[in-house]
Symmetry: C2
Subunit: 338 residues, 2 copies
DNA sequence: CCTGGCACTCTGCGCGTGCGAGTGCCAATG
DNA sequence: CATTGGCACTCGCACGCGCAGAGTGCCAGG
């Protein structure tokens, strides 16, 4: 186990490096933080920390920089989450409250996160799976063509056009609409399949095929998790930390465009609180030199989607975690209200 | 007026520079293109072209590179639009046909454009203004709360929650829904205001306030052009031409995040065909070293939105213009079908 | 009007050098 | 035994230099 002072040294190294973006040496450390010991002592501690793999030197005889393992220790033991100040919280709330619809909420959230953290923000649209159905609407586009519109409690709207095997009258359509809504309104998606299972039986034989088709389209829409979309913003911030690693910005941009990758990334974080994945802890190769700070958010107590930021491993973890947590909290509130 | 040969020299310079990304000298020119004259002659022509402002040298005694004015001349007079090959066209069509809804169409279009041109793709969602109404749906969320869902012929769905001044019964709601649809279905947005003007008069006095509120929300939704959204993709391609100008990638990313800027940019192009804006022709400063190739697309004959790409001024104009035009054409087809 | 020749001007690159920051080790000290 | 001051050592980096190469402008001759 590392001594208390060595942990302090590690903390100091992380903080300084995050601030200056330059390898930090023993002398500078003792000057900036009053550790009460001489540079030589710090050097010994640094050697020990390096042996343990918490820090490394870019080249022989240069300052030290934290390794992924070092950041991990820092995040887990040495740093808390820095809460937002009251004015900041008010600003967040004000900014989000101006949103007119779900798209706008997500867009504003992205902008906000990117601005607060000065990093790349990623916000997942509220997922369908844990939501409840607010309403199902059926519209007749043509005799054998129906548009299915699904409205969820998070304000999301999904629509599909269904080609029916046989013409379907207005009366039948109204009947189906009524029956469908009385069964599934305010029900959780997960419960819907069993609730509509026997619906076709209530209809005339000639309409059963169409009813089944509509129902299966509905179920498809419900489970279509890969349809989960997300919005990203603040990519210009990549250039801020890119000047050190101009090479790495490319794969990061590529990874960010692969929505599948990002969704998996966010999905992996099961922790109920703020999750931090540092450097090589990210499965995707392009993100090996970045850290991802994410957290779930939701309209009620339950998380229905994730949001977070992607930045250099050298980031202000306490501040970023605080911002992410605060934004998630307020977005949840906004969603609950609407 | 420039002689025929000088134009050829300019064309050769543009083509070589686009290919090699390096300033091109007189000797290399005569070797790669058989102009039938000696380097010295070409030098004289180059001097003339430089006097006219079509080309410039980065530093004294280096090769020449085209200026914005040079590219302009190239695009206007020297180069045509390079049509896509048949296999390419098939690939485009196949790729777009798999789309399930409007979001998917736009997302696929962005991906496609970015891949084809290896540049940043921008696709504007079909605008509401020129569309027609397919259906208006009203749902009662609470006694004094109505959700308004607007479905357009381009497959776009807009929804708004309306807080009513007074409780509104199911019967009145159904009445309003029916009257509204019979008046506005398949009508152009522009015509809607006058069509619904006198609708409140058909209702009981107590409901008129609510009807008016719903209608004004509908009209708001219709004209809300600033709500126009767009999707971008292929930003990773910025790094390809960024290594020359690592400084310029930042403002470009910033400009791309400002949706307002991009919308204005696309909106400015009034030409019915493919529009090219080169370098400083772009009003936005961050895009001064980029060119924007854009074109309108639409489900019918009319353009309802724009799409295009943003790339370095040093780009393959004929190829890019061909790709943009082809994609726009096929997207239009897909939209018309759905 | 075209062409070959010539002197000139840059940029980029490889190389050697000096400087400075930072390290590791060691012996001395409380 | 942890801490400290001292000291030699190691690199990376910025700087200056010279050189080659590519490209130009200009001029005189066809």
């Amino acid at each position: 186990m590392l001594s208390e002072r060595r942990l302090q040294v590690l903390r100091a190294i992380v903080q300084d490096y995050v601030g200056t973006e330059e390898p930090v040496g023993s002398k500078a450390l003792t000057e900036r933080h009053n550790l009460g010991v001489s540079p030589a002592t710090v050097r010994n501690d640094m050697a020990a920390l390096e042996d343990e793999g918490y820090i490394a030197q870019p080249h022989t005889s240069a300052g030290r920089i934290p390794t992924d393992k070092g950041y991990r220790l820092f995040v887990d033991k040495l740093a808390g989450v820095k809460p937002m100040t009251a004015p900041e919280r008010r600003a967040i709330q004000n900014f989000l409250e101006g949103a007119v619809d779900l798209d706008d909420v997500v867009a504003r959230t992205v902008r906000l996160l990117a601005q607060l953290t000065r990093q790349v923000a990623v916000v997942q649209y509220p997922s369908l799976t844990r939501s409840t159905v607010r309403h199902v609407e059926l519209l007749s586009l043509a005799p054998a063509r129906v548009m299915l519109v699904l409205i969820t409690d998070t304000g999301r709207v999904e629509q599909r056009v269904v080609d029916c095997p046989a013409p379907f009258g207005e009366a039948s359509l109204a009947d189906l609409r009524a029956r469908l809504n009385s069964r599934v309104a305010n029900r959780r998606f997960a419960d819907v399949p069993s609730l509509v299972e026997d619906l076709p039986e209530a209809f005339e034989h000639e309409d059963r095929g169409t009813v089944s088709t509509v129902l299966s389209t509905l179920l498809e829409t419900l489970v279509e998790e890969n349809e989960e979309r997300l919005m990203i913003g603040g990519t210009a911030n990549l250039t801020r930390f890119g000047h050190d690693f101009p090479l790495t910005i490319r794969p990061v941009l590529e990874a960010l465009e692969e929505q599948v990758v990002l969704l998996k990334l966010l999905g992996e974080a099961k922790d109920p609180g703020v999750t931090v994945r540092i450097g090589h802890e990210n499965a995707h190769e392009g993100l090996n030199s970045t850290s991802v700070v994410s957290v779930g958010y939701g309209s009620g107590g339950e998380a229905v989607a994730k949001l977070g930021v992607v930045g250099p491993t050298r980031m202000d973890y306490p501040g970023t975690m605080g911002a992410v947590r605060a934004v998630a909290r307020y977005v949840g509130q906004i969603l609950a209200e609407s």
